[in-house]
């Protein structure tokens, strides 16, 4: 027999039909189909049987008739009264009620701190590098302007044309090789540099 709607359509909407969530027109169409179709009728009867069985099981639960459940109000009202007196502690506790959120918040805070520290480190290293590499570029700031001084007067080594010394402050005087661009603290320059011919004393 020809059906106005296919079995697939009906079975897709059978849950809503069973739950009375369809319009009157749709209900009539599906009802007509069920009248003629054994397969869909079987599915519909299974849905009904599932509902009936679950309701029966729920009604038969041994714990369902707990007399305490009918006398909650006194305890609840008492706790509400106590909580009203200690409201700020309650608010604080409720923030930690769902530990998932707390862990997420702690994780986010830790990640933010790590990013912040990383950014500051990079910024600090970059500014140091710029100061070492282009000492003249900071000449606009008189307080930080580098002073070129003869390398021999700093290191005790003989002057060498490829070296130059830069001092931002007495404690940070650096030596720089103009050939290989390496730099070092002035006190270590003669000992550690091997890139260029070591100057003779």
């Amino acid at each position: 027999m020809m059906h106005a709607v296919s079995c697939e359509d009906v079975q897709n909407r059978l849950d809503e039909f069973h739950d009375d969530e369809l319009s009157v027109e749709e209900r009539v169409a599906i009802q007509g189909h069920l009248h003629d179709c054994v397969t869909c009728t079987l599915v519909a009867s299974e849905l009904q049987e599932v509902r009936a069985s679950l309701r029966e099981a729920a009604l038969g639960l041994p714990d369902r008739a707990a007399p305490e459940a009918d006398h909650l109000s006194a305890g609840v009202v008492e706790r509400v009264r106590v909580e009203a007196q200690l409201s700020w502690t309650v608010e604080l506790r409720s923030l930690f009620q769902d530990m998932h959120l707390v862990w997420a918040a702690l994780g986010a805070t830790a990640a933010t701190l790590v990013c912040l520290i990383g950014s500051l480190s990079v910024f600090h290293a970059t500014s140091q590098s710029v100061r070492t590499r282009w000492p003249a570029s900071s000449s606009s700031s008189p307080a930080r302007a580098p002073t070129r001084i003869p390398s021999a007067s700093v290191t005790g080594c003989a002057p060498h044309e490829s070296w130059t010394a830069t001092a931002f402050r007495p404690s940070t005087t650096t030596m720089r090789c103009l050939r290989c661009r390496r730099s070092s603290l002035a006190k270590d320059a003669c000992r550690t540099w091997s890139c260029c011919p070591r100057p003779t004393a």
């Binding site: 069985s53 099981a57 038969g60 639960l61 909650l72 509400v80 409720s94």
Partner: protein, 211 residues
Amino acid sequence: MNPRLIAEEFVKEAGALGWSELAGGEAALIERCVAGEELACAELVAGHERMVYTLSLHLLGDRDEALDLSQEVFLRVFRTINSFRGQSALKTWIYRIVINQARNRQRFWRRRRRGDQVSLDQHVEEHGDLKQPRDSTSPDLALARKEMAARLWSALDELPFDQRTVVVLREIDGLSYEEIAFSLGVAVGTVKSRLTRARQVLRRQLRENRT
């Protein structure tokens, strides 16, 4: 049907009510609770305690847990009743709180008591048999129905929390799709799909038990 209409319906959100649509008595009761009137609080609890306990029991399956959860739910209700704006019926709003609290508690339980689940037979040994339904049919048929009901309830317990909740709200509490959607904080389409998946499992269980 037009596919666009189907799509629109699928993503349709749960409907919202306004204050004006709430029953007058209910709105007045809420206002008195917000004002801190203890009598009103007691009245609100008395009007909903059985419903809250039963839903808690169906979701958690344990009497003591359900009683404890019921108290927590009402405390939560009174802590947050200031934020209730009549976006749903009071009952549906309370349902939502029950479900959220039960979900949190169930996560806690699953982590700690995963290995403590007992078989249906063991449960019956410890807590006694299910109540005999009042039935005028033959004893054999009544027994078969009772066994089938117990096995389906056991299958329901095995479902994921979200699917189990949808089934309980629909099949036992008789909530509409929109009310379920509001209670769970999801779209109506999600309710339908969860219900369909859960019912497929339960129908399969039904067929297996018959054979």
